[in-house]
Every structure is written in C-alpha cells, then in structure tokens.
Symmetry: C2
Subunit: 354 residues, 2 copies
C-alpha cells in the first residue's frame, strides 16, 4: 500500500482483528433466509438467456410503471448495468460526447465514462444537492446525464421538484438520463422518486436492499426499447447471462415482504443518528444523510487522516478525493452501533492527538 | 425471429419438445457432484476481492508454469476476460489499433474488438488452420493477435510448430497475444499447447470442462503484471468481484480428478465420430474436428438451411456467416448420441427434399 497512491481496492474486503471498517459500502446485516433457502436442491447450471431470467424480469415489471419483462436486463451488479448503459450511449452516433456528472460522485463514474469514450462534465453540488441553474446550463452540451439519488458518497436525497425539472430538461433536449437508484430502499426522509422519461435508463441492484453484494445481481430498466436491445446485443458478447444461481436467488428476494425491507430502515436511521451526531460533536462539518449509508465530513489533511486512522487506529475510511471531494473523507456506516461508537472514539483520539 | 436478420440470440437457450439443438456450445453432461456439494451450507454473500478468490487463484497457479496467484483474474466467464483484455489493450497508447483475427472466428471477437476501439484485421484459415505467411505479414500492422486453438467454430487444433512461430513473432514484435484456450481440456489429438510469452493473456473458463456454463466463471492468466493490474483496475469499476458463489464452486471444480476430465474425452470423441462420419456420408464438405465440439460443413444456401431446418425439421444450427464463414453452417455436437443420430436423419431428409 502506497500512502501517495491510495485507492479503494487497497481496502475492499480488508478484514482483521480489531479493524473497524467504515470503508466499503456493504450491509453487515445477513440476507433474508428466503434468498438462500433454494440452495440445497438447486441443480441447473446451464446457460440462461442473456437478457435475464424471464420470471425475475416479470417480477420486477410488477414494481415499475408501464413495464413488462422486456424493459429489463439483469446484470452483474449495478456496475455492469452502468458500464453497459454508458457503452451503449457512447456508441451512438453524434457529436456530443459528454456526460454530465454531479460532483462529489461515486468513484466509478468518471472512469466508466472514459472507458465508454465519453468525457465527464461536472456540476458542483451545493450543500450536497444539485444546483439546477448550473446543471441546466451544462446539460445543453451533453449527450447524457447521470443522477444518483440517494447519493453515494453524500448520503443526500435530491428534492422532488429538482428531479422533475431534470426529467423535463432531459425530455426537452432529448438527452439520455442514467439514474442510479441502488439506494432506493434506503431513504429516511420520504419514498423514492423514480425518475422517468423516454430515454431514462434506471440502474438498480439486489446488493444493498437484500445484503447480496457478493452475488453481483443488478439490473437496468428502460422504456427505450432500442436502448434495451443495444445493451442485450452488447452483453451477449461481453458477459452473456448473469450468474444463473444469483438470478434465482434474486428472484427469491423479490418475494421478501416489503415490511421486512422497511423494518431495516429503522436500524439504518439509528446508525445514521449515531454517526451524524458523533461526528458533529467532534466539530466536523458534514451534511446530514437522508438516504444510503454514507457521510462525507470535511477533515484537515484528509490523506493523513485516512492513512493514520488505518495504520495507527485500525479504522478504515475512504479519501474524499476518490469521489471528487478532496477536502473530505467518506465513512460508510454499514456497521452495528457498537462498532460505530468504538470507531468514533478512535476518531476522537486521533483528532485530539494532532 | 426475422429470416433475414438471424442472430445467435434467436437460438440461445431455446428448448422445446422434439427440438434438436446443434446450436449453442454447451455440454449436456452434468457438472461433477463436487461442484455443487457445497451449496446446502454456503452462507457468505459479501463482496469478494475484485481480482478473485485467493484460494481459487492459488489452485490455478499450480496448473500454470512460473505462476502465482497474482497472475490471474477471475472473471464473469471467458467473455468478460476477453472483453477486459481487449479494452485494456485498446486503451494503451500507440498508433496501431488493429487486432489480428484468424477467420472463421468465434462470433464475439469482431464486436468485442470494435467495442474496445480496435479494428479487426483478418487472416483467412486454409483448410481450417492458420496460414503462417499471411499471418506474419499482417501481424506487423497489429497491436494484438487473437488465437483460438482448439477453435470454435472450426473444431481444428493448430500445429505446435505454428504456435511456436506465433510466440516468436509476437515476442519479437512486442505484440500482445490473446490466447482463448477455453477448449484446452477437449482435444482429441494431443495435449493442449499453452501459448506463452511476455505479453500473452490466456483466456480460460470452467464452463466447458466442468459443465458450469450458466455460472459464468472464467479467468485470465498473464505473466504481464502491468496488464493484470490494468485489468483489475478496470474490473473494479465495470463489475467488481465475480459472483462469489460461482467462484467457490469453481474452486471445488479444481479438486475434480483429472482422470474424470479425461474420461469425458472418450464420450466427446465418440460423438465427434458420429457427426463427422454422418455429415461426410451425406456428401458435405467439412474439416475433421480435433478439439472442442463443433463442425462447420459447407452447405448450399446456408440461410435456407438454417431457417428450414429450424422451422420444418426442429433442428437448430448456426449460420456460418456469424463466424465469418458465409458458405457454411455450424453444428455443436454437445448432445447425446441418440440425439445426434436423430438430428442427422433430419438433415438427410432435408437435403433429399431439395
């Protein structure tokens, strides 16, 4: 590990005695039992259709408006859904090659844009939310925009009027919208607002809601059938069907009662309060998370903070720089409250020491 | 389904009463029991490392010369390994942007090259094998070459002296070699010859050897650590870890005795003989398969053949055109011998009818 070239892959999956990881964004809660109850007798390991298991797509269609199974593609996590959507959009003919990205952003967005031959154009968040005037001005030069509400890393949720204005401008200008809504079931302040429109591609996942991160089952939804078909054609060469057993487990997850999902919100909100109050009490400037499970406080000398917290205090945090927020560090609070509290004690010690 | 725009995705996964599918390349044999014996008690669904499960990579390292776990990346099937390798090579700086491809080729190669910003340059196979003079001449203009021995769709295996010459020219010219060896355990005529060199990326898979197609676990191996690191960096954004349960099952597969794998060769050879002798007896011109499980006979009016065999005779075959062989059709003989024989009877009827 090199102090001057830290990256998330230095920390992903790092575990060990006494380590408290506020690093990767992974629920610590176990998946619902329904999800793995099928394992003992499962036996079909043959290719599936590239678009994804029909019964899984049919189950999803019941959750989305004006939809049928044909509007979905099941992918290797939300990551592959994003990658395929960006590549498909990047391959379209046309001069505009820019992707509008609110900043701070999830760290994979800029490289995925570049891999797809698109140039990221940033609009700076103000107080953790989209500044619509700046957003609108920059949208004109872009082929697509990427929205992520609730946001990783800010934990913020966009106001519904802002999302409505984004829908309108996208539709008026004929711009693609990629809406990464993987935290749709983890909002503390309201129901999720599903962004809609003729050229919207919504990205989602079973990872966060059902604690199935390692199984890598995500999906995309779009009413733009041409886009869906482009993506299926591409996926038939780039990865073929998504792991068939993961899809079967995701199908079981669709049967989990919503009440179970909603009951977890209570746990997440309690954790949110502990970390938000704790970091605030330490004098750090931060936005109050309204969804997902991240906080992004300002700290002095963030690289020293991340390095020393890890090396001296066995606490993993992520550099805000990776997310386009160089003055900040990211904490994921997907940990039980005892660990969050212990982690906060160590942060306090560090801050007092220097 | 449109007669004039047929594609493999019209046929992948198509099953039904009375249908005989010589279509997709999927073993009909079940996976070894070892592979799924872990399912009943498996419970860890968290993120894994992007590069792949260490114990799986360590097991692979014991099968490859001069290797350690760091030389491998576990991927979503061989498809993702190919896609990542091509994208990583395509992203390197330099003027040459061409990929040398022997033709007929596996149908995903040209689109994957284009998605990666590379231009396919073809060298025509002669009697199903590489014409080294033409190959060598074209290699000079290329950044990379893609070798597939045993080949899908030809079923041919390259002569070892040819492979040695390819290793030398690649090394002399500093050209990347992608060697797709997914059929390495399905060769009737000799042991596999592992192509080696400083910039070789070998693509492999658990799909064919262990009948695990739907689980999508493949891998790549390279002694070029910079390339391996580029690919891990890319995969950390494009899909993260490969399905964790699939990897665990692949690890179990590495414990399957080689004798079991080798005993399957006998079954494949018997099938090869039935289809080769059968199609030859019908007067079709074809190359004798030496590996994999495909034959690529010449037929008159291939589109009529594929369409009518499917619609009137319930036999699925693939258009040679998809593989760069417009005068031919591809049969996969991953079927039990009774089905192969029944399929051959129907082909005979069709040929006699018109």
């Amino acid at each position: 590990m090199d102090r001057n070239h830290l990256s998330p892959s230095d920390f992903i999956g790092v575990q060990g005695k006494g380590i408290i990881s506020f690093g990767s964004g992974q629920p610590d809660l176990p998946p619902p039992e329904l999800v793995y109850r099928i394992l003992p007798t499962y036996r079909d390991f043959r290719y599936g259709t590239v678009q994804g298991m029909p019964k899984l797509r049919e189950a999803l269609a019941r959750e989305y408006p004006r939809s049928e199974a044909g509007n979905f593609v099941i992918t290797n996590g939300a990551s592959e859904a994003l990658d395929l959507a960006l590549r498909a959009i990047g391959n379209k003919p046309g001069k505009k090659k820019s992707l509008l990205l609110p900043r701070p952003y999830y760290y994979s967005y800029p490289p995925l844009a570049r891999y797809a031959g698109m140039k990221p154009v940033y609009t700076q968040l103000v107080n953790g939310r989209i500044d619509f005037d700046d957003f609108e001005e920059k949208a004109h030069q872009c082929r697509a925009m990427l929205i992520n509400s609730p946001s990783n890393p800010t934990g913020r949720v966009e106001a519904i009027p802002t999302l409505r204005k984004i829908e309108k401008i996208a539709s008026d200008l004929g711009i693609y919208v990629i809406s990464d809504e993987v935290y749709k079931d983890l909002i503390y302040v309201r129901e999720n607002y599903l962004i809609q429109g003729p050229h919207v591609v919504t990205i989602n996942s079973f990872s966060k809601t059902y604690a199935m991160c390692g199984l890598r089952v995500g999906y995309l939804w779009s009413l733009d059938r041409e886009m869906v078909n482009d993506i299926i054609g591409m996926k038939s060469h780039t990865s073929m069907n998504t792991n068939i057993l993961g899809q079967e487990m995701a199908y079981e997850a669709t049967k989990v009662p919503k009440s179970l999902v909603n009951s977890q919100i209570k746990i997440w909100r309690e954790r949110r309060d502990i970390i938000y109050d704790g970091l605030s009490a330490l004098g750090l400037e931060l936005w109050k998370p309204e969804g997902a499970f991240y906080v992004l406080p300002k700290v002095r000398r963030p690289r020293d903070f991340v390095w020393n917290m890890h090396k001296k205090y066995k606490v993993i945090t992520y550099l805000g720089e990776w997310f386009g927020a160089p003055e900040r560090v990211r904490f994921s609070y997907a940990l039980d409250k005892e660990k969050i509290e212990e982690g906060l004690k160590r942060v306090k010690k560090y801050l007092e020491s220097g």
